[in-house]
Every structure is written in structure tokens, then in C-alpha cells.
Symmetry: C2
Subunit: 275 residues, 2 copies
Amino acid sequence: MDTLIPIGRFSRVTRLSVKALRNYADAGLLEPAWVDPASGYRYYTYAQATSAEVIRVLRSLEMPLDEIAEVLAAADDDVVAKVMDRHRARLEDRLEHETRMLAYLRRLIEEEGRPMTYDVTVKELPATHLAVLRRRVTADDVGPAVAEGFATIAAAVGRSGAGFAGPPTLVMTEMVDADGGGEGEVELAFPTATPFPGIGEVAGEERPAELVASTVHRGPYEEVGPAYAAVEQWVAEHGHSATGAPREVYLNGPQEAPSPADYLTEIQFPIVVPD
Amino acid sequence: MDTLIPIGRFSRVTRLSVKALRNYADAGLLEPAWVDPASGYRYYTYAQATSAEVIRVLRSLEMPLDEIAEVLAAADDDVVAKVMDRHRARLEDRLEHETRMLAYLRRLIEEEGRPMTYDVTVKELPATHLAVLRRRVTADDVGPAVAEGFATIAAAVGRSGAGFAGPPTLVMTEMVDADGGGEGEVELAFPTATPFPGIGEVAGEERPAELVASTVHRGPYEEVGPAYAAVEQWVAEHGHSATGAPREVYLNGPQEAPSPADYLTEIQFPIVVPD
DNA sequence: GTTGACTTTCCCGTAAGGGGAGACCCCACC
DNA sequence: GGTGGGGTCTCCCCTTACGGGAAAGTCAAC
């Protein structure tokens, strides 16, 4: 029952490596039932094998250790179910993303990077009022975070009575990539008809008139890459020079477009035209 | 066409971070079109944006950089297709595994670690001849690697005429876990009717008679954990002591069992019984 | 010429451990 | 009561694919 077994034996029982067990002990995930204060030896009980098995399974699902700790600490079954559902949703989203990316990749390679051609035009944007929200987002939840951000701005604009004057825009002020929760800052904005006063985290700003080179990408957002390249290349080839971070304008969204294949995203690079 | 652009601009075109681009350059994945020998500045061309997009997509699929390098280096479309199919298969296997593990986990938590009860018995195994193959395997391909290993042994035994004398067994001499390609050594063996001479990597060995505590697990292999705990605990509670690494005996396999739910796996712990 | 933005290399940190060194510790055997 | 061999301890470095930040050098515009 409360037989104490050393780490090597416990390792064989649980099929977790000694290193991993020590790691879990240090992380507070699975602390030994007793640690000999004289020798530092860790001793476990058979009853702990169940927790170890749960850890094994969750690790095989690539759940981070701190979330596993949450699960183990939660005696509440609902909490467990919630964490698990969240993780399952993550896994399913990932598979869908992967399937789409594999298809895109095939086109990308077969058509040698020119799956679409883009018409690039220069236009002058008038000065405008903006309702702006800056958010730090992680790579794996850009979508929901951005959607929520736009909803927040929209609500603030609605309450302010400033009135909408165009589709939402996004500027990536930092890159958001990398797997391990790569963070980055994005700047979300709605143009407004009258100056926006600023409500909560949503700030009112002015954007001066400017010249941009722009093109429109039709299709899933994940495939927007070549549009960036097309605009930038066009700018360089026409002797202009880009002067800032590019902006994305979402001309339609999931509400208006029947499917991701019909999403319209405008890519704008601010430029200066030499005399 | 061959306009050279510095890394920051290329970063905006490709939406890859400067750090990532430098990393890819160092890894030989995407070397700058020109590096100024005086300043060390990296300069890219727009034509490289396509490779960058491929890298972006493959990284979003969590493909390791060295495999991406293979894909980019392979002008051959078949190679690309093969790598992609392999990766797709990996992803699909993973989702299936994840689905099964989530279900198992639910049972594990609801039933508090006792999803099954196990009858543990002691039996004396006679000395036997073995055809043994040692393999280093990584965590994410244990299944196929083990199957291939057994096939290798079976072929060798068949050619030797030593004759099969029982189901295949596996000993994990090292733990195989961890996500990052955790390696471990496994020892695969078939008992043979007469001494096996050793053919290629398959060695002939003798196993002396020994006493084991054993139980049989019915169900998917991934759920074998509690059986280990049950045997070990039984051994300890009966005053015996385990003397070595446990062994798994595959009483049936995918050929004989209609579904994973019917797989039979025997877990044997060698023991000594005190006088 | 000077400023300010850009880029370089270098070093450290991440998650979840693996590999190995050097030092203890435990226990069975004599 | 030794003693040998295997188990275990801590400590440090290594992995992947970068991110953060420092200190120094570079570029281009004014």
C-alpha cells in the first residue's frame, strides 16, 4: 500500500525515464511521496503510478507541463473536462490547418511560387481618424485574438458614435511566427467618420494622408504571402521606396464571404515616389 | 529582378522575423543572394521570396529544418511529394493517436486509475533459445520500428530453420519517451525451438529458466500502463522482489486480433521469491 | 558631418528533458 | 564488519528554432 520504491523501480513501473521523473518532481507535477533528507533519494508509492500514467498520456498529447499541473491539481471533473476539450480543439484546429497548408504547398511548389498574379496599383489614401487597439498575440491564436480585438474596437466605436468609415486594418509591428508561442505585436484599427475619443484600451489616433502601393489577395489568409512579395517587388521595380510596415485591410470577412476562398485582403505598403 | 534588398525589408516581404532569416541562412536553408564581405550585411532578391514562403508553410506544419532543407534541395518533384506524404501520414497518425488518448484519459480520470483489474500470477519460465535483435528507436515511430524488427527476426529464424517456439517478446532496456525524438534501446526476441545461430544483426542467445510475475492486458497497447503498476505492486505486496527489466509478450497482433481492443499483451517481471 | 535607423555578432534563455561526470548511497554477500 | 556493484544524487552542457538584448559597426538621408 504505502510501500516506498526508489526512482529506478518507479521508472520501470511507469515507463517514464528517471530524468523525466526528476523533472516532474522539480516542476511540482509528481512529487515523491518521501525524500530521504540525508541522501536526497526520492521514494514513490504505487498509488502515484496513476498520476504518472495521466502525465504520460498528456505528455504524449504534447500538453505543456504547466497545463498538466492544472489538470492534476483540479479535483474538479469539470475543470479537467474543460482543459481536455480545449486541448482537443487545439489538436483539431491544427489538423485542419495542416491539411490546408499541405494543399497550398503543393500548388506553391508546382506553380513555382506564382499561384496568383497580382495587379499592383498606387493610390493616395486621405487622412483619416482611427480607433486603434494594440495587442500582443501568440502565433497559435492569431485568428481568435484578432477577431476578438476587432470586436472590441467595433463595440467601442459603436458606443462612441464616431461611425465606421471603412473596413478594419491590421499592421504587424513585430513578426509573429515561430512555434514556441512566438509573440508579436499587432496594431488593429477601424477608420472612423469623426475623431474617436478613446475608450478603454482602444485609442483614438489620426493617420495623415499617404501614398500606398496596394494589391488585393483573394483566398485564404494563410496564402497571402505571395501578395506581399508582389507588391514589394513592384515597388522596387518602379523606383519607389517603401517607407514603413505594410498594412492589411480586410475587405470582407467570415460574415460576408461564403468561404475562405473568397476572402479579400488588401495589402498596402506605404511608399514615397521620387520626384 | 535581381534587386538586392537588406534583411529587414526581406523580413517584411516574407513575414519571417529577422532572427529566423538569419537562422535559415546559417542552416543553409535560405542563403542570402549576396553577403557584403566588408560589412557582413545579408542581401536577398525577390526571387527568394518563394523559397521563404515554402519555408513558412513547412514550418507552420512543424517540419524540422533539416527536412525542409531536403525539400528545398530536391529539384525532383517526386522527392517533394514523398516527403510531404510522409509528413502528412505523420500528422494523421498523430491525430488518431490523440483521439484515442483523449478517450483513454477520460476513462483513466473517471475511474481513478483502475480501468481494469489484473490477475497476477507467478510462473516459472523454462530456459529457452532466443533470436534477438537490439534496436534504437525514437518515440514517434516505435510502432513501425518494432513491427519491422520482428519481421526481420522472423525472416532470419525462418531461413535458419531453428523453428518458432512462442510469441515475440520485447524488453525496453532504456526508456523511450519525451517528444523531441527521445531515443531508447529495445530488445526484440523470438523464442526458437533449437539454438539460433545468428544471422546478420539477429543474434542467437540463451535465456536461463526464471521465475516471473505476470499478467495479461487486453486492449490497445497504449493503455498497458496500469498493468505494469498492477504487477509491480503485486510483487511488492507478496514480499517478492523484482530483479530486472520487465518483458512484454505479444500474445496476438494485428494479424490475429480483429481490433486493438482485443490485443493481448503479457507483462512479465522477473522476480526472486525469498526462502 | 551627423543623426537615426538598420544590421552585425555574441551571449543568454526558452521546454522538456538526454548524456555524461563525479560523488554518494544502499544492500546483498562474504 | 567490510566490500563490491549497481542505484542515485547533483551539476553542467547539449538539443530545436528561434527571441531578447548588448555593444559595435554600417547605411543613407539631411
